[in-house]
Symmetry: C2
Subunit: 286 residues, 2 copies
C-alpha cells in the first residue's frame, strides 16, 4: 500500500474531511476558528545528511507552522514530542524549534519526551483564523498561484549546496498566507510534498482540474533546465504556498509570488497541456 | 541521563512552566482557556504484550484525554500522528482511537501518517477550561485525594489478568476532572507515571510536601498485600487523578474517590511517616 491508499483507510474511519486540509478546523464562535495540525518527522526519511540538531529542531516547528500558514492562520502554540535516541541532541533541537516558533509569533509551549531507537519528532501546532482557507474552495476559471520558488529544497538534497537553507531551515509562509487569505484567495495549501502532488491533493479536494504552464515557474539559477523542471514539479520540502484566486482579485505585493496556471472544470492535471501521472514524495510500505 | 535530568534541559530552553502541568494553557479571553497536550507512545516501551491494535488506538487517545481531564478541561479535538510499521494495523488503531474520543466527547479530527520501523503513535489533544487546575496550586493543610484505585494497570502488566482492562483500555477521568475542578480543588494531575512519581511532580510544582498513608489506598483484591502496595505506589499506567483540596471543600460524590494524605509546608514526600526515594516509571538513556 502507498500513502494514498492508506489515506482512504483514514477517510473511512475518521471521515473524508480529516484528510483534505492542512489543519483541522474547530469553530470557536461567529468569527474565529481554531486550527490544529500535527506532523511526524524522523531521522531516516526526513532529515538530510549533515543537518544540525538545531536545524532539525527548526524544521520540526516549521512544518507545522507552514500548515497553519497554508490556511491563512495565525500560529499561537507549538508542542513538540521528542523520541530521543541520544540525550546530547535534545538541547539544540529545542533551541532550534523555539527559534522557529519565535520567528513566526508562536510559543513553544511544551511537549513530551521519550527514549526512541530512531530520532522521531512530532510537532503539533495550534493557530487561529477568522476565515480558514481550505483546499477545496477553487472555482473553474480561477487562476493558480504559488509563493516561493519550487524545487530549491530538492536541489539542495541532490547536491546544489547554494540552496541548503531552503532544505534545512525552511521558512513557513505565515505572513504570506495571512495576506493571501485577506485578499480573498479561494483555496490554499502548502507544497511540502512537491508541486504536482500538491496540485493532485487540491484536485482531490475540489473535484476540479488544474492546468499549469511550466515556463511560468521561475528557473533555478545554476541548475540545468531539465533537472530544474523535475525539481520544480516533483521535489518536496519547499514549504511554499499553492493557491487559487478569481481573476478579479488583487493579490498582495508579495515577493516570490507567481501565477502559473488556471483551474478547469475537467478534473485532470495538465502541465503544458499534457496530462501528467503523479509522482513526488510519498511514503511507501511493503 | 534520566528523564528528570532531561526535563531540566527542557526547562532551560522552553521555560519551567512547560514541564509543570499536564497541558499547556493558552488564554482565549476573560473566562476561557485552551488546553493543549501531546503524548508519544511506541511499541517497545508502551504497549503491553498481547494488546490489540484497537486497544493501542484507544490507549493513544486516552493518554491525551487524561491530560485534559487532569486540568479539569473539556476535550474537543484529538490529532493522531501514526508512525506505522505495517499497513494492516492502521484501520483498527484508528477505530480504537476514534472510539475513545467519542466516548469522552472529543473528535478525532486528523493527524499525520509516516512509515516507521517501530510503531509510534503521538496523540495531541485540545480542550477548554474556564479555570484550569494546575499542579502547583496546593496549600499547606490541604488534603490529598485520588480518583481510581492505583496499581491495577501495573498488576495487569505483571500477570494479574483480571485487571487487564485498566492497562489496555484506560479510562480518562474526564467527568471526574471537571467535577473536581468545579468543586474547587487546588491542584490536580493524572497519575499516569505512578502515584509516588506523580506526588514528586506535584512537589516540584508547588514547593510543598506531601504525606500519604498507604492504608488509605484501597487494596487490590486478589493481589498479596506487599506486592499490591508496590503496585499502588510505583505502578504506572492507571490514569487516575491526584488532587488536593482545602478541608472545607465539599467533594462531589464520585466513585473510587479516596482521601489519602495531607499537604505539608516541609517539601518532603512521606509515606506512613517515612521519607521515600522516588521510583516509578521513567525513561532511561545510556
Amino acid at each position: 500500500m502507498d500513502e494514498r491508499e492508506l489515506k482512504r483507510v483514514v477517510a473511512g474511519v475518521v471521515g473524508r474531511e480529516a484528510i483534505l486540509d492542512d489543519c483541522a478546523v474547530y469553530p470557536l464562535g461567529e468569527e474565529s476558528n481554531l486550527l490544529a495540525t500535527t506532523d511526524m518527522l524522523h531521522e531516516s526519511t526526513d532529515f538530510p545528511a549533515g543537518i544540525s540538531n538545531r536545524e532539525i529542531g527548526w524544521m520540526s516547528a516549521a512544518v507545522t507552522l507552514s500548515d497553519i500558514a497554508a490556511m491563512g492562520g495565525d500560529p499561537a502554540l507549538v508542542l513538540l514530542a521528542v523520541g530521543l535516541d541520544r540525550t546530547s541532541r535534545l538541547q539544540d533541537i529545542l533551541i532550534g524549534a523555539r527559534e522557529c516558533c519565535e520567528a513566526y509569533g508562536a510559543r513553544l509551549a511544551g511537549g513530551d519526551l521519550d527514549a526512541h531507537g530512531e530520532l522521531t519528532l512530532v510537532s503539533s501546532g495550534i493557530g487561529f483564523a477568522d476565515r480558514p482557507v481550505r483546499r477545496s474552495g477553487a472555482r473553474p476559471g480561477d487562476l493558480v498561484g504559488i509563493v516561493g520558488v519550487p524545487g530549491r529544497a530538492q536541489a539542495a538534497l541532490e547536491g546544489y549546496d547554494m540552496f541548503r537553507g531552503y532544505l534545512c531551515t525552511p521558512k513557513p509562509r505565515v505572513r504570506e498566507g495571512r495576506a493571501l487569505a485577506a485578499a480573498g484567495v479561494t483555496s490554499m495549501m502548502d507544497v511540502s510534498d512537491g508541486l504536482l502532488l500538491s496540485l493532485d491533493d487540491m484536485r482531490l479536494a475540489s473535484g476540479l482540474g488544474y492546468a499549469i504552464e511550466s515556463e511560468k515557474i521561475p528557473p533555478l539559477s545554476g541548475v540545468p533546465a531539465g533537472i530544474a523542471r523535475r525539481f520544480a514539479l516533483e521535489g518536496g520540502g519547499d514549504f511554499g504556498l499553492l493557491f487559487t484566486f478569481p481573476p478579479g482579485v488583487i493579490l498582495p505585493p508579495l515577493p516570490e509570488l507567481f501565477v502559473i496556471g488556471t483551474v478547469t472544470r475537467e478534473p485532470s492535471l495538465l502541465v503544458d497541456g499534457k496530462e501528467v501521472v503523479i509522482s513526488g514524495y510519498q511514503h511507501h510500505w511493503d
